[in-house]
Symmetry: D2
Subunit: 444 residues, 4 copies
């Protein structure tokens, strides 16, 4: 019981810390910024603040806290995202049309639910393990929405012709970068294991999502993996050599996509009048493209076409995870905690290994598109009930990304973490890491 | 010159009064309410406040005030509505995605432009008549946007599942209404005149839009006009007798429209669980439908189908104007000045004539759909240049409405005033007044 | 009774002649051509042949011929166009997906119904007047579809990259044309009458559609009307001077339309590689544009913008009809009977008047867009029942055209005839005749 | 050289046989049936006949037959499907709008190209191996279009309210079926190999598509596979128990799909007035659903939801291929050669193994949806040039199907064959075979 109290105390600390982080991220916002939904994919900050609260209310307070009274009955509908098992949802494309509840009311909602959760964590009794497990899930859920809050906000501000700033970034981050030569590192395959088994559900740091398991064997050929992400300068070469005009480089859907939406560069890139490339960053305005920084905000179609153009390919999930699992010492400086809000040039980053196999930025800075479709692992079973909708029902038509980004909380990521987006999506901080077959080393 | 100064002083008074009215209308809003665009047609309040300011800046300060410096260069693009002659426009459907400029910044923009206009009105010199004429135009333009501000806000609040209130309304307005029997009043036709000639362009109260002229002769048969608008109770009978399910009552486009959008009642009506009808009003919540109030928020398709169901028809423009021109003593209580924000039951209204030909609510409460397509009058010429885009370029596919509504400023309306909307539109306070051919009196 | 028999005999002759004409128009077609629907507006020839037959079956054989057995029960649904009063309709956009019934089966359907009608016309008895009246209506209905058959076929063949020919045209039609100088003819207005009263319903040549009446008085100012339609050369000047790029010339909807669909010339015009303009005609291939021929296949938006560019305007319905009613001696050579399938240069046409007020091609060659929205005349009442859907329910959002075209049967047209299409439509043979206010004569 | 001649002779025989099969399949068609495109996915038969011919012309005659003259220059554009490397394509959604070329002209095109190919096969010389290899590819390409020709035609006829027959089927096929009990067969996994290496490119029967290789190792857990496909009766139970109304059974995209398109049963199923289920088959009309036949025309979404409802899942590619590779004696009766055009009840089929591990219909009758997204095998490289667009560029957002169907030519299929469609697609003969984890045997 003493152990439980200790654990509860630690969890309450995590709870307060994670919840506060969401609000800290909103600190630079004007009230007007909280409500905007510039595209269907990008929800308003206010919605993220309320939905993460709804998650705790719906899956913890309502079922577990005796006598709990909902803050507002209508919120069950307004702030449900996609949990059909819970009930109907306010239509996603209309989230930006809700001027009410106001920001103040949403903050009051957060306080109301926070108090309920703290009360719940203080209690002993039946269902305690499930309560703890769900609070941990709710916190990781909130961390995912913290990332979306940042990337959705970037859509809002970046599409506004005024190009407002979100917040200042630490000085000198992008200054004086050197190039790190692109090198392919040989990796040994074989019969490897990937994924995790279900365990540690009640410990914040040992948490895993259901889609990361079960751990299972995969046969893997030897392969090479790039020592760093592709830079803006390298991507610009692809553009300048006509990459967006050569259909043979593109997946069929990608070719249709770029023609339909007249795509010719990553999101947030714009040509200025003299033909130079500018880029919108969360620090505001439009800066000249930094040649040394990793290219970001590319779709899977673009990442895949770029890789084909180089004669290489994107890594698979198992390749990525095999390498990442061997690394030690994650560089926390590439995460949202550092408040840079943009990927760093590789030369400014600590490497993830001290050996001659230096590999930069596997974790943080940019999510890395993999060649792997988002599918269940052998033996995968979603959680029972509505919480089972969390991950499993999206296992069609999406691609896996790995490693986290400059908008991800550092204690949210791990080697087995599977993120997933549609091939066309590019409002996340997504980048490109190359791979190739070991067999092709001699061929090339 | 003394006369000019007097006139300038009066105009400056009007200017301050009309500009202040726009801001007064926003007084009950939360900051969050200023930015929302719930449907493409309904612009955010912040946009209305900025666009009306842009109008003064673009058509007065930039061309006429020497040394004028724009408040923000980007606003020329952001707040242009549809004046192609001036330049490109920020896409209308995205108006609700602009969290910046903030409300405070828009208010500062208003102050900046207000000062410029006052300075301009103080000056003498060339172009003075044009300046005065354009200020008057700008004020009537602003009054039109005041009406839209109210109706667009109603869309925002009325579609929000929380059904928030805009503001309280004077007590007792809808209480204790009696029915005024529906009667058709005989009207004598002949060779009549309608419209106005261009004159009084520099006097606020003598203003006319270009589409109201020239005055011209029209031959008009005798006809009957209803003594009051159709009530909710009468419209409900149409619904209950299957009006929305009988295709022979509907225009072809109207039938497609109601099937595509699954329309079965006026906008803002909803059935409660017991089958009764509720209605959203700007006073908030959902109230039971008042049987005595005029039906409002109907499309032309609905107004036309209802009229056909009664065996009658909607009036033409010339019929409406002929009757309205003979009336004296407009009842100002039906306009936005009275701050009711909803049409009144006819029994609570002063009649527009003292004779036995009492006709209620020709002006105010509800716009009245006419059978007349919005077309140019014989000899119509739009203003030269970009200002000519104000009215003339919309003369296709729309219908004329007459008389103003509870969201219209009282000193904005007149008998010759031509409003126009698409047949499907119903977010304005639109209602139904019946007419019929005199010849059919004996037949029926 | 003898008179009845004579009348019945004449009507049977008309019936055979009109029905045969539909099939004659199809004579040059390959079986493959009968089924194609290139755009939603343009129905397959097979559908026209079947639908006109359905009209006779539905409105005559089923109600009036005792013991009539439907050719195929499913046709009631398949070949109903838009008569909601009769029943559900097969979706219009899918008409081109029906490979069955085959052409042979449709021809057998025609024979089956033709026999029924002839039998019906042979009978005496109750309802005879209604039968005769409906047969006459059915024949004029079939004539309308003959025109659509030609214009819909042109869409099919003209959009096919192979540009096949429909049929050869008489030699020398477009050769050696001279220009007829464009002149404006003064017309005297006043209190005029327009439209027709209901009469002659049982005489094929005295027929009128319900929307042509009642005859009514209209006050009309003096005006000028052009002596001939606008030519390709004149329209080309509008293009060359940037007409399609100057927003101030266009109705707002028109400007959106041309930007959305990237419109820069009339339908069927294409630039060849050397920048010259080619035009698809029903004689096949692509010929150089004939400068002397009337411009055709223009939308109302284009006609209106062109007129504005000249400083003039399009005529109103009443103006057009007033002039047309005074003319004598319609030139039948401009109609489908002449099998030219394209408008003729004015210099090759007989004038419609022998005086110094020569006006060319009021009738035939091209439909002429008017400035008048398609609205009911004062006192208009549609026919009772489903046949009332014929014209009345389209009285919204469309514009009136007058005079018929090279695809119209000559005995189908008259001065009071009102055709109507949407402002964007241009697959009919539509052209431009200018008008202007008499008052502006001195001004200009 | 003698060997070459022999080989060439055999290949010419295959060429004639396969080409003739396409025309045989069209034998029952009316001319009208050749041109129809009922939905964007389903091309007209005429298009299939021309496109397969275009393939031989483009990839063989033009590059390899000296002095070859194109049948019609425009066909290069009209009948290119999706080969961007070759040139622009006539828009796919408009294929049904081309009434020309006529069927006779397309047949003449086929003759013209057939002669060219036979002439080419007679020649010796450089590039011979490539020629042979491309002819073999072209024939397998044509076989794929034979399947599409049948399934596309079924869309045409099946959506026609007249429900016409394509052709009669052998009597008694669906009569007197007995149920085969559904049993799960245990399968042993381990480190297995799947796929094929490139070889046999010049032998018709040894052909493989590039996406079937390279052969590679995969680690596979033990699993169970169903002994036969799911029947209509079993699927009906899923419907009757509310399967289409329970969101927790569905992928998120699938749930949106069924709500958007109001899906509640497999394609071609319709309820009759008494509530019983009818099904359209290519034998015409509408027959009562056969409870014993495999359910077909289901989307991946439906297959996946059904499997989840049973507590099982769909097989992966490697599972399916591992079992299929061990089987001997493919039952040719389930392919298009048998001209049944519908899947057979399992009880009427030979089993694919004689042991106690009887497994019915792995090949033929219905394609079987797998849980595997369509992705490249490790080491996959598409063919160089435009032919590389054949398979590789579709490796996103699609699912793999295995085994062939009643519309597949028997000599076109093999254990390594990978078919792929979008999860929503159901106009192919697609069915459901269940699998489950061996580990779950004891758990369940």
């Amino acid at each position: 019981m003493a152990e439980n109290a200790l654990q509860a105390g630690l969890l309450a600390d995590h709870f307060r810390r994670v919840r506060a982080r969401s609000e800290d991220l909103c600190e630079p916002l004007a009230i007007e910024d909280y409500g905007v939904q510039p595209i269907e994919d990008a929800s308003p900050p206010k919605w993220h603040l309320a939905h993460t609260t709804w998650f705790f209310e719906t899956f913890l307070l309502t079922p577990y806290l005796d006598g709990y009274r909902a803050f507002d009955e209508a919120f069950a509908y307004l702030f449900n995202s996609y949990y059909n098992g819970v009930g109907e949802q306010f239509p996603r494309p209309l989230r930006g049309t809700l001027s009410r509840p106001t920001v103040d009311e949403v903050m009051a909602y957060r306080r109301h639910v926070d108090e309920g959760i703290e009360e719940l964590l203080d209690r002993e009794g039946n269902g305690r393990a499930e309560v703890v497990s769900r609070v941990v899930l709710g916190l990781h859920h909130e961390q995912q929405h913290q990332e979306l809050l940042v990337t959705d906000l970037k859509v809002n501000l970046g599409l506004n012709p005024l190009r407002p700033a979100y917040r200042d970034v630490p000085a000198g981050v992008h200054a004086a970068a050197l190039d790190v030569p692109l090198e392919m590192r040989s990796q040994v395959g074989g019969l490897v294991e990937m994924g995790r088994d279900e365990s540690g559900g009640t410990d914040f740091h040992e948490f895993m999502f259901d889609n990361e398991g079960p751990r299972h064997r995969v046969y893997l050929d030897d392969f090479d993996l790039a020592n760093r992400p592709i830079t803006n300068a390298e991507y610009l070469e692809f553009i300048d050599e006509g990459g967006y005009r050569e259909p043979l480089l593109w997946l069929s859907e990608g070719w249709s996509w770029l023609q339909t939406f007249d795509i010719g560069a990553p999101m947030y890139w714009r040509r200025d009048r003299s033909g130079g490339w500018m880029e919108y960053r969360l620090s505001g305005g439009e800066a000249a493209l930094d040649p040394h920084s990793p290219v970001t905000h590319v779709s899977y179609f673009e990442a895949d076409a770029f890789a084909r153009w180089t004669g290489m390919r994107l890594p698979t999930e198992v390749e990525w995870e095999t390498v990442a699992s061997r690394r030690r010492g994650v560089d926390r400086d590439g995460f949202v905690d550092a408040q840079r809000f943009h990927p760093r040039p590789s030369s400014t980053c600590a490497a993830s290994d001290s050996s001659d196999e230096v590999i930069h930025q596997l974790f943080g800075d940019c999510w890395e598109w993999t060649q792997s479709a988002y599918s269940p692992y052998p033996g995968y079973r979603p959680i029972e009930g509505a919480l089972g909708e969390y991950n499993g029902k999206f296992m069609a038509s999406q691609q896996v990304l790995r490693g986290g980004s400059c908008a991800t909380p550092a204690d949210h990521i791990r080697a087995t973490y599977r993120n997933f987006f549609y091939p066309k999506d590019r409002w996340q901080f997504t980048g490109i890491r190359l791979a190739k077959d070991a067999a092709s080393r001699t061929r090339t």
